[in-house]
Symmetry: C2
Subunit: 410 residues, 2 copies
């Protein structure tokens, strides 16, 4: 067996056994692109071997997605089949596990009118609200992983030959998901322990506010009085461990909806719905985004902020050392799953229920009342840099460094 | 544009404009294999260009299908997601059109225990009863077409190189679907008129019985007193024309459920659920199959007959000249869509509602009462040969030739 084949098998196995941590007789639903067919076949095999009951693959195809945006009527772009949303809900309600395998071209929808994209994103957001809330409340086990595709690899490694591009992207995926290590399952256990230590430290501190300072950024974010920092592995409703993102290097919580003030500057391009947004800046007053500028993709960014009321507020703050393995790779993946793990980041939109006490059992209305933002969207954007300092400010006004020059201060 | 590309475009266009005859703002659901991704992309584009509202592709993957049969528990093989069946029903109830693009390896499931296959076929049959009845009653427009795949092509042309195999199978598909003709749409119009003439002739005759005679076959089939012969194009509930199969060379109706007596011998192998059944013989008494023998795949055939009570009876009788274009090609396609159009055939299982007067508006119970068979399955098998004679016997006992030496006698 070649090294590549061996790594691919290890990766599929890791996704099944650590990612969703499939249980005996549990159904697994995989969201994947036709581009990734070979890898998906491998994951399906590993899932059955690990005891899955049935593995359902919900395929999509990038070319067909783009064709729809080019040719369907605006009216049609607002359709989302209710029965499909209902199906996902039913699977989640019956202890199903979910795996998304990401491989899309970051430029897939470039040139498409952002308003047309917003119609579809919104329709899906509304239709999938219940399903997405189930996942965000960790009702079911879920994981997001990646598979290299030709188009994505070409974007990441433009100077290589086509074959080499895909090879290098797979290598980068293997490296960042610890597949290159002797025993990836053990490596992930250790990694999980490390991130949980940070989580424990921050949760003990009970900071009232964080203050971010770096070139272009001067931002204060208030935290909920029962906020919980979270990182790496989670537990679903049944108490089964799962790893929602692979890779993951972040430690995160929710901001207080109306407690964000100041200006923040992006430090990496954001690939959103197949379009690139770059060098942008957001200004907040009492939590709300009051102005938006971008060197590239400003219109797309404005559409994102206009998705609904909740997309004017933040739903996540995440800490990642600027010297994390992904950051050190120096690769810009044009993909949030990777790029968010190379940089401190924030997310516009929906806040995680599990980041406040009792949140998993609250309705979205109740969450909003206690200051956790609600939206049909949730989009991460990168703000970390080598010159970023973050202070934690306690109830009594005292301040201490959490981040110094882009990395952990403790 | 190369000849192949041009033909592929013409074929995609024909499937959309004549096959389902897509109407403005109508949804189209395509069932297709990941193997056929390039052709499916083309069909989707043509459908939007022809005015489709949204095109939904329900993908399946042959390798994953086989993996499931190899590794899932028997219990799991009996699962069919209710929400998916409900979704197809909803699409059909809302004027959706349906296209199946067939490309599977005829040997896909060879070696799999037929009992395991039967579990899945049965579960799908039960879950999809309503949806399939909608289609069989022509509530919605639907078409079945084909796309060449490597595995299927290798089976049909075992002596060619891999590239040549696929090329030859596409050529055969283009030829049998009249794509090689100057104006395929016009060619299909003419073909439709020809088959409708046969239909008209037979419907005027009002035969009470057909008597089949050839090597190994001596069979009498009674017809319903309001039976209707049907062929080529159909009309859906809204009166829109569509072509349910491409190619199609048959003229067909339903037998009277309890009116079949004698013995019939197959003349071509039957590819059923990824297994080949060959050289088989069925004996009927008062409509019921009372004995089954097969040189190859006898166990699979027996499982098919045991699917439910209705799978012990016939649901279709179809007439195809032994000198039809597909028959003349001399190619054995190992695929019912093609092989049924090279040969007189019968079908085990469900009978078409639209082949008796008022049938489209009857429930399955009412249809059964008037003598139209009900089953969750419907499987065609070939019985035509160059030495087959078929007589039509009228109410008064008089007899005249319908088929002589394998072809039309009128």
């Amino acid at each position: 067996m070649s090294n590549f084949k061996e790594n691919l098998e290890k990766y599929a196995e890791l996704a099944v056994r650590v990612g969703v941590n499939i249980q005996q007789n549990q159904n697994l639903t995989i969201n994947a692109s036709t581009e990734a067919v070979d890898f998906v076949r491998l994951v399906v095999k590993k899932a059955y071997e690990a005891g899955a009951r049935n593995v359902y693959v919900e395929w999509h195809d990038d070319v067909i997605t783009r064709t729809r945006f080019e040719l369907a009527s605006s009216d049609a772009l607002s359709d989302y089949p209710e029965w499909k949303a209902k199906g996902l809900e039913t699977l989640a309600e019956n202890d199903g596990a979910f795996m998304s395998i990401i491989s899309s071209d970051p430029d897939l929808l470039s040139g498409i009118d952002p308003k047309r994209i917003a119609l579809t994103t919104k329709a899906a957001g509304v239709a999938l609200t219940k399903y997405r809330n189930y996942l965000q409340a960790d009702k079911a086990s879920w994981t997001v992983i990646a598979a290299a595709s030709k188009e994505w690899a070409a974007k990441v490694f433009p100077d290589e030959t086509a074959d080499k591009q895909v090879e290098k992207l797979w290598e980068a995926i293997f490296k960042t998901t610890r597949i290159d290590q002797e025993d990836p399952v053990e490596a992930w256990q250790k990694h999980n322990d490390n991130l949980h230590e940070k989580v424990k430290y921050l949760n003990n501190k009970r900071y009232k506010k964080l203050h971010y300072k770096s070139t272009g950024t001067d931002l204060t974010i208030e935290l909920h009085h029962t906020h919980t920092w979270v990182g790496a592995g989670s537990e679903n409703e049944k108490g089964n461990f799962f790893m929602a993102n692979m890779p993951t290097e972040e430690v995160f919580t929710v901001p207080l909806r109306n407690g964000v003030n100041g200006v923040v500057q992006s430090t990496k391009p954001l690939s959103y719905s197949g379009n690139l947004i770059d060098n942008f800046s957001l200004k907040f007053e009492n939590g709300r985004i009051v102005s938006v500028t971008a060197e590239k993709g400003e219109e797309v960014l404005k559409q994102l902020v206009e998705t609904d009321e909740g997309s004017h507020y933040l739903g996540e703050i995440a800490l990642v050392a600027h010297d994390s393995p992904i950051s050190q790779s120096g690769i810009l993946f044009y993909n949030t799953l990777f790029d968010e793990n190379a940089s401190n980041h924030l997310a516009i939109g929906n806040g995680y229920a599990f980041c406040v006490e009792g949140g998993k059992k609250m309705s979205r209305e109740e969450l909003e009342k206690v200051g956790v933002n609600s939206s049909i969207t949730h989009v991460d954007f990168m703000i970390g840099s080598a010159d970023m300092n973050i202070d934690g400010i306690s109830e009594d006004g005292s301040s201490e460094a959490i981040f110094k020059n882009g990395t952990w201060a403790f």
